[in-house]
C-alpha cells in the first residue's frame, strides 16, 4: 500500500520506527560483545577482549551438563511433539466428527494458559507419578507446551494442500498410511520442518516449567541460568546467552530466508 504523504513530511515517523527497531535489536545482540569482555564487571563497552568467559563455560560441569540436558530434551520434544501434533492436526483437519472444535481448542489451550499454572500443575502430577527431575518428565512437559505450535503450523500446511491427491493414491490401491507418507508428507516438508524447529526452540528456551520440575543432574540450561542470575550476575552468562542466541535464532532465520526465496523465484 502506498501513502499519499511525501516521504519528507513523514521523516519523523521513519526516524521513530528506526529508533524502536534499534530498541528491539540492540539489547538482544549486546550479549555478544559482552561475552568477549576481559573484565570481571559488566562494564560496557568492555575494557578489553578475551575468551575467558567461554573458557569458564567450557570448564564448569554445571554449564556443560545442563547444556547437554537441554539439547537432549529439546531433541526428544521435537520428535514427540512433531509426531503427535502432526497426527492430531491431520485427524482434526480431515475428520468430521462432532468433538473436532473442542479437541483442537483443548490442544491449543497450553498457549493461552500462564506457564506458572502449567508448572505447578505438572509439579503436582509428577510428584505423585515419580517423574520429577527426570528426562522423560521434561520431554513430556515440553511436548505439551510445543503441541499448540506444531498443531497451528501443520493445520495451516494442510489447509494449503489438496487432499484429493491422497484420494487419487488410495483409489489406485495405496493404503491411507502409504498415501499419507508418500504423497502428502513430502509436499508438506516445509511445514513439518518449521513445526519441528519451533518445537525444538520452544523446549530449548522454556524456563518456568523447567525451574519447577528439573533439578540436580537433570537441570536444564535455563534452570541453571535462572538460579545463577538470581544470586549474582556472573559474566559467564553472557557466553551462555551468546550460545543460546545462536542456537535459537540461526535456524529460524535460515528458514525464513529460504521461505522468502521460494516465494519470489
Amino acid at each position: 500500500m502506498e501513502s499519499h504523504v511525501p516521504h519528507k513530511q513523514r521523516l519523523w515517523l521513519y526516524v521513530l520506527t528506526a529508533l524502536i527497531l534499534i530498541f528491539l535489536v540492540l539489547p538482544t545482540l549486546i550479549v555478544i560483545p559482552m561475552s568477549f569482555s576481559s573484565a570481571n564487571s559488566l562494564a560496557f563497552p568492555p575494557p578489553g577482549w578475551s575468551m575467558r568467559w567461554y573458557e569458564s563455560f567450557f570448564g564448569q560441569e554445571k554449564w556443560l551438563l545442563s547444556t547437554w540436558v537441554s539439547l537432549r530434551v529439546a531433541f526428544g520434544t521435537m520428535i514427540l511433539a512433531t509426531t503427535l501434533g502432526t497426527a492430531a492436526a491431520y485427524g482434526l483437519h480431515v475428520g468430521s466428527f462432532a468433538l473436532r472444535g473442542t479437541i483442537s481448542s483443548v490442544l491449543i489451550a497450553p498457549l493461552a494458559i500462564p506457564s506458572i499454572l502449567l508448572a505447578i500443575g505438572m509439579f503436582f502430577v509428577y510428584a505423585s507419578a515419580g517423574l520429577l527431575n527426570s528426562m522423560l518428565g521434561l520431554v513430556i512437559a515440553h511436548t505439551l507446551v510445543a503441541i499448540p505450535f506444531v498443531l497451528i503450523t501443520m493445520t495451516a500446511g494442510f489447509k494449503t494442500y489438496d487432499l484429493s491427491q491422497e484420494m487419487v493414491a488410495r483409489s489406485l490401491g495405496a493404503s491411507r498410511l502409504k498415501a499419507f507418507f508418500t504423497i502428502t508428507l513430502p509436499q508438506l516438508k516445509f511445514s513439518v520442518i518449521s513445526a519441528a524447529l519451533l518445537a525444538f526452540i520452544v523446549s530449548f528456551d522454556e524456563v518456568v516449567i523447567s525451574v519447577f520440575i528439573s533439578a540436580g543432574p537433570n537441570s536444564t540450561l535455563t534452570k541453571v541460568m535462572f538460579s545463577t542470575l538470581r544470586d549474582d550476575v556472573d559474566p559467564t552468562i553472557a557466553a551462555v546467552s551468546t550460545l543460546m542466541l545462536i542456537i535459537a535464532t540461526v535456524p529460524p532465520l535460515v528458514l525464513q530466508l529460504l521461505a522468502n526465496r521460494k516465494r519470489e523465484p
Binding site: I30, G91, A112, P114, S115, I116, L118, I120, M225
Partner: protein, 307 residues
C-alpha cells in the same frame, strides 16, 4: 462397496430403493469408521494435555475451595481479597500489565504502520529486527537488560555523557526495570498481528478517501485507524493477558520489590505446605486470563461484523 452386479464387462449402478438404501448405509458405516480412526490420531496429544494440564488445573480449582480445617469454604478467596499483602499484589500486577500494554501500543503502532506501507522487500528485511528478539530466549533478553540498566550500565553512562542526568538513575530492581524489560519482550507480540492485519487493509479505501477530498491525517483517523482496530485490539489484549502471568522478568529485574501474581504463587507453593491460597490465586489468574481473552474475542467479532 455394494455393487449389485459385478459380472465381467459391465457394472450395473444400483437402481432399486433397497439397493440405494444398502449403499447409503454402507457408505455411512465407512465414513463413521474412518472418522473414528481419524479421531484416534488426536488422542495421544489430547491425553498429554488432559493429564498434565486439564486434570491438575481442575484439582487446583477444587483445592481452592477447601479451607484450613479441611471443609468446603471460601476462606482462601476471602483471604486474597481482603488481606493487604494479596491486594497489593493484584494492584502491582495490573499496574505492570497496563503500563507495558500502553507502551507496547505506543511503540508498536507506528512500527507496524511503517512496515505495512513499505515495499515488501524492505518490510521483510526490517521484520528481522522484530523476529530476532522474538526468537531469542526471554532469559537472555532479561539478562541483557540487567546489564544495560544497572547503575553504571550503558543507559546511565550514555545519559551522563550527554549531560542529561547528574546522578545515575535507578533503572533496575524496581518497577521501571520490570516495565522496560517486559515491553521489550512483549513488543513483537503486538507488532506481528498488527502488521499482518494492516497489510490486509485494502489501499483503495485510503485512495478513495483522498479522492473525496480528505486530508491524509483525516483519512488516517477516519479510515485507516478504524480498519486497523480489530488487529490492534487482538494484539493489545494478548499482550495484556500475557503480562498478567509473567514470572521470570519481574523476578530478575524487580529485585524483589515488584511482586506479581505468578511470583506469589511460586512462593506459596515452595514455602508453605498448604496450597490453599496459592490455588485460589491460580484460579483467579486463570479466570482473569480466560475472561480477557473472551472479551477481546467478542470485541473483535463485533468490530469485524460491523465492517
Amino acid at each position: 462397496m455394494a455393487l449389485t452386479d459385478t459380472s465381467l464387462g459391465h457394472i450395473r449402478p444400483p437402481v432399486t430403493d433397497a439397493e440405494l438404501a444398502y449403499n447409503a448405509r454402507a457408505l455411512e458405516k465407512d465414513r463413521r469408521r474412518e472418522n473414528i480412526q481419524l479421531l484416534r490420531l488426536a488422542l495421544p496429544a489430547l491425553a498429554i494435555v488432559i493429564i498434565l494440564m486439564v486434570a491438575p488445573i481442575g484439582w487446583l480449582f477444587s483445592l481452592s475451595f477447601v479451607g484450613e480445617g479441611g471443609g468446603l469454604s471460601l476462606e482462601n478467596y476471602s483471604r486474597i481479597l481482603t488481606e493487604g499483602a494479596y491486594v497489593s499484589i493484584f494492584v502491582t500486577t495490573f499496574k505492570v500489565a497496563v503500563l507495558v500494554t500502553v507502551f507496547c501500543v505506543l511503540l508498536g503502532y507506528p512500527v507496524s504502520y511503517v512496515l505495512a506501507m513499505l515495499p515488501d522487500r524492505w518490510a521483510q528485511l526490517l521484520l528481522l529486527a522484530v523476529l530476532v528478539p522474538f526468537w531469542t530466549s526471554l532469559l537472555v533478553r532479561t539478562y541483557a537488560w540487567l546489564v544495560l540498566l544497572q547503575r553504571r550500565g550503558i543507559v546511565n553512562e550514555t545519559l551522563d555523557a550527554l549531560g542529561l542526568i547528574e546522578r545515575p538513575l535507578a533503572l533496575v530492581n524496581n518497577m521501571a526495570g520490570v516495565v522496560i524489560g517486559m515491553v521489550h519482550i512483549m513488543l513483537p507480540f503486538l507488532i506481528m498481528p498488527l502488521y499482518a492485519s494492516m497489510k490486509s487493509i485494502d489501499g483503495n479505501f485510503m485512495r478513495a478517501a483522498a479522492n473525496l477530498g480528505s486530508s491524509p491525517g483525516h483519512a488516517f483517523r477516519h479510515v485507516f485507524l478504524p480498519l486497523s482496530m480489530p488487529g490492534l485490539i487482538a494484539g493489545t489484549m494478548m499482550v495484556f493477558v500475557m503480562c498478567l502471568g509473567f514470572y521470570i522478568t519481574p523476578s530478575l529485574l524487580g529485585g524483589g520489590k515488584v511482586q506479581m501474581i505468578a511470583q506469589r504463587i511460586e512462593q506459596s507453593v515452595s514455602l508453605f505446605p498448604t496450597w490453599g491460597p496459592a490455588s485460589a490465586l491460580a484460579v483467579v489468574l486463570l479466570v482473569l486470563t480466560a475472561g480477557f481473552l473472551a472479551l477481546s474475542w467478542l470485541i473483535v467479532r463485533r468490530l469485524t461484523a460491523n465492517q
